[in-house]
Amino acid sequence: MSAWQTVRLIAGREVRQRLRSRMFVGTTLALSALLVLGALGPALLGAFERTPDDEPVAADPVRVAVVGSLAPAETAALEATLGPLTTVPAANEAAVVSALEEETADLGIIVGDRVLTPPATGMFAVGTGRAFQAAETLALTEVLDAVGASGSAAAVLGVEPLPVEVIGEDDQALQAARLIAANLAVVFIFAMLMFYASMIVNGIIEEKGSRVVELLVEAVPIRQLLAGKVVGLGTIALGQMFVLFVPATTVLVLANRDLIPPGIGGMLAIIGLWFALGYALYTLISAGLGALVSRPEEAQAVLTPASLLALVGYVVGFAAIQAPDASFAVVAGWVPFSAPFVLPVRQLVGEPTSLEVAGALVLVLLAIAVVALLAARIYEGGILRVGARVGIRDAWRGSSR
């Protein structure tokens, strides 16, 4: 049996055990549902806010109170820009104003003089926008009339405009999305790392406490046991990320195309990558520490060094959201233990050089390799010593066999 097959068997058991925990599955599904609701939020709010004023429907003609009389060419031109019209003759300006106030008209035109409009309402200021369009249309018709082409105004205005392409990114929306993503990233990575650190420690304590470890160690090299646990929990973490984010993102994409933060795929990839690296680093440290104790009450205490490291990373990561390119953030990016918190922030809201990103990646990978060796040795030294807490030096010095 190859080492990988053994690791897969052990990982498979870890996965099955978690999937059988109602608490774990329930919490994950509930969180996922919350996120879906959050993604639906803007769409739901939009539905409530929607009023006829904001979005005139094709069937609703625009009601125009007119003092004087519009030439047929003018009416046609107005219909080309505003859509179908019903004109209501008005005696004078005062009649137009009261029609607007009583909302029996949407727009007033004093021919040859002015366009009257009620104040802007709604996000898109539809009312006043329409008034400017009407005013421009009337002016244009007048010009065309002067050159003897009054009949072509409607045709000119009805022309399908060329497509407009926005070059570059819509700065404000993107910045906002990135800021949200950076905040989410720091909180998410910290919460998940702490969660999985205690998961792996509790798993190890269960094996030591129940003494099943002796039966395992007889048949499985201790390092493969450790690798199996890390891979198994990693698989679960990956699955959990999928369940948490994929439905919410899908809903976001389907429900309100306009509101998808631009570049959301890239942002999720950045968060996923740094979470995975942080996971490997912190879970290995936690596994090494966890092998030193045998009782659940000792789990938190033994994890303290790892928790503190992560907490520092978390705080620095949070501070970096405000100043992603400040020197403290740059320095913290070069430290493997804080990089998983700081780098996603810098990549989302700052401008790290590619050297800084690549350097951080290499250093974190190196740190993972070193930590894996140290953790495996301490794990080997501690895993078979059931009972009192094993000193880290003791565990380091001798394998527990």
């Binding site: 049996m1 053994t6 068997l9 052990i10 058991r13 055990q17 269960e206 094996e207 129940s210 003494r211 099943v212 470890v213 002796e214 039966l215 395992l216 160690v217 007889e218 048949a219 499985v220 090299p221 078979l384 059931v386 394998s399 066999r401």
Partner: protein, 308 residues
């Protein structure tokens, strides 16, 4: 052949194994005996690789025991251990799979042992919900589920009720008859005497007695109980090597060295009167054990210390 050769292991100042050697052949059912703290558990853990020996080696079929051999070994640790929240069948399959048994065979074997050990109704219950006795059965099944060729069981009988003891004895017997080398530690000497063909007795990390039970008993010196209707002054003329162990009324018990013909003693006794009662006893294993362990006064003090 399982060979433990000159095993040494110390824990700090405590010498747990002090050059222990013995052998168990395939098909042999060997009782591994010794007072508390004698080093039985340490020796067995060395054999299955859970503890490393400071010196000496353990061989199976002439080769040092490696991972491949350990995967063909069934082991029952002294501290029983299973995943508390894993179901019985699933757990047995997992244990077998870790020992490189393919999934189908593992599932079939698990069911076979579950049925054989009478825990069919608990097949899909988490182990923690089983009674202690049933957990012991699952533990035994976990040692057997991969069809091992070598069985190393640390006090498999401890905590079993008489019925479970019978089942355990039967299973061990069967395994040995099927060619498996079986070694188990125990403090139940009478049971070992009936069950095992061979024993190894360890004290203070050293082998103090081993061999076939029958031969040990035969060689261990018999006891001859004699009563005559005359007086008992014949004991003054006992042949060399024979010694009086006890006297009660006219009944005298004499310990005989293995080589002495009991008839020689009877000849002497018959001269003082008619023989009324004659009884030749082989020693019980428990007596041999006590002699082997206590015959070495250098051990006595340390043993009581360890017993604490």
């Amino acid at each position: 052949m399982l060979e433990l050769r000159n095993l040494r292991r110390s824990f700090g100042d405590v010498v747990a194994l002090d050059g222990l050697s013995f052998e168990v052949a395939p098909g042999e059912l060997c009782g591994f005996l010794g007072p508390n703290g004698a080093g039985k558990t340490t020796a067995m853990r060395c054999a299955v690789g859970v503890t490393a020996a400071d010196a000496g080696e353990v061989r199976w079929r002439g080769q040092p025991i490696d991972l491949a051999v350990r995967r063909r070994t069934g082991y029952m640790p002294e501290e029983r251990g299973l995943y508390p929240r894993m179901r019985v069948h699933e757990q047995l399959v997992y244990v077998a799979r870790l020992r490189d048994v393919d999934a189908e065979v593992a599932a079939r074997n698990a069911d076979r042992w579950i049925d054989r050990l009478g825990i069919g109704e608990r097949r899909d219950d988490p182990v923690e919900q089983l009674s202690l006795g049933n957990q012991q059965r699952v533990q035994l099944a976990a040692a057997l589920v991969h069809d091992p060729e070598l069985l190393i069981l640390d006090e498999p009988f401890s905590g079993l009720d008489p019925l479970a003891t019978d089942v355990m004895s039967e299973v061990l017997r069967e395994q040995a008859d099927a060619g498996v080398a079986v070694v188990f530690s125990s403090h139940q000497l009478d049971l070992v005497e009936d069950l095992c063909r061979t024993v190894a007795v360890v004290a203070r990390g050293r082998l103090v007695l081993d061999g076939e039970v029958a031969a040990l008993k035969a060689a261990g010196g018999r006891r001859l109980r004699v009563a005559t209707d005359g007086d008992d002054d014949w004991t003054a003329r006992l042949p060399a090597g024979a010694a009086v162990v006890s006297r009660r009324d006219a009944t005298v018990t004499v310990a005989l060295p293995p080589t002495l013909d009991p008839g020689a003693v009877l000849d002497v006794a018959r001269r003082s009167g008619r023989l009324v009662d004659v009884h030749l006893d082989q020693p019980r294993l428990s007596e041999l054990f006590r002699t082997a362990v206590a015959d070495r006064p250098d051990l006595a003090a340390e043993l009581t210390e360890v017993d604490r």
